[in-house]
């Protein structure tokens, strides 16, 4: 009950004060440059990684990236930069 109330409070604050949602609500911020790069901030860890598929853990649920010849250019605790040919981006509800 209390957690839900807190969520609502955050939601209302971001909307009324025009704050970026990814900061306030721990959501991933995804930047893509065409199909070449995908840059994800605020992930919670690497689940699977192959040259065709990358699965990342998020605060809520998971993110599935599909494509070809993936390489992880950089990986930091909360950021990841993947290079290759991005074809699909799927949110999996956890």
């Amino acid at each position: 009950m209390g957690k839900k109330w807190g969520e609502q409070m955050k939601n209302w604050l971001t909307r009324s004060m025009n704050l970026p949602e990814d900061v306030m609500m721990d959501l991933p911020r995804i930047t893509m440059i065409g199909q070449l790069h995908i840059y994800i901030e605020n992930h919670r860890g690497l689940l699977t990684f192959s040259d065709k598929e990358v699965r990342l853990l998020l605060t809520k649920g998971q993110l599935l990236i599909k494509g070809q010849s993936f390489t992880i250019k950089t990986i930091l605790p909360e950021e990841i930069l993947i290079e290759g040919k991005v074809e699909k981006l799927v949110y999996l509800e956890g």
Binding site: G45, L46, L47, F49, S50, T71, I72, T74, I75, L76
Partner: protein, 412 residues
Amino acid sequence: MNNQWLAFFQGVIVVYIQGQGAERFINQLIRSRIPVWQVTRHDERTVSFSCSLTHIHKIRRAARDFEGEVRFSKGDGFPFLWKRLLKNAGFVIGALLFLFVILLLSNIVWRIDINGATPKMEHEIRKELANIGVEEGEFILKMDDPETVQKKLLSRVKGLTWIGVEMKGSTFHFRVVEKNEPEEKKQAGSRHLVAAKDAVVTKLFVEKGQAVVKRNQFVRKGQLLVSGFIGSEGNLREVGAEGEVLGETWYRTSVEMPAETHFHLLTGQQVNKHFLELGEFSLPIWGFKSHSFAHYKKEEQEHSISFLGFSLPIKYNKHTYYESEQSLRSYTRQEAEKRALEAAREDLKAKLSEKAAIQGEKILQREFRNGKVKLSVHFQVLENIAVGKPITQGDRENARKKHNEHSTREPE
């Protein structure tokens, strides 16, 4: 990612991991703040990534908990390059030695060209150059700069009017202009001897010709002393008059001598410092001791170092500090006067020919003012006053006229 260069200098290693749960291993690494990059999957079981060499121990520790196999593959970056370099040390040393030899050879004089000189003069110049230290096979750094070489040559080689010194790479070019000293004219036939200045004749040594003046006679400048016409009236002949006529001449000089003089004397103590200069920055390479001279004179010698004919931006600079002493010289009036007189004498001697002798001197005026002695001195000098003067047509006619007068008078 922003410090790729730092990673390159620290060294980069590629790690291969085989087995299930490679993702978990990577997660574990990044959670313990070990940056990894370039993560690629090769097959079902193999993943490779790059990481910094400095974290290799942490990765080993993490690998203990990992059930698969962790293998360190090729290294990249500066430490590995260095290792390879050391392995091929012989090659590197060879390359450095090669550069060093070229550098050395670029700073040696290979050739000395002398243009515009007669063989004799060229030989003379080469000999003098060897004395100065400019020789084929010598280091340019050890030598004086072209201007100094020029100055030294001009002062030491007789018969040089001008010499152009130019350094092109490792070659010295000299362009020579010789003095065209007029050869002393041989006694061009007949001449008189006339007085060079006003004087009183004291002695006459006539070798050829006929003396016209007597001892103790006062002569004016240009007056005939020894005639070139000899023989009795009947057969007058012309000869080149030769001889010496000593006459007493007079000079008046005025000199000034300060009673107190400050001098800078070099004591002979010197300190050398050697620098390599790159633009504004100068790196001392030898002579780190700083001099402790209260007064000194500083001299700088600069040489640019050349490589294969190009001059590098590096310069070699030698500073020499000579210790100097300030000393005060003070004279009493009598002493100052004496010195002034000596100075006057020296002054006069420099003007006179070597054979001339000072017979007497007399101080005409002495004045002491503002710490200075001012003397006006009169000198009596004994010197040769005879100079040759060719017999002109006019002289001949005069002589003939005189002769004719005689001959017309004769019959009487």
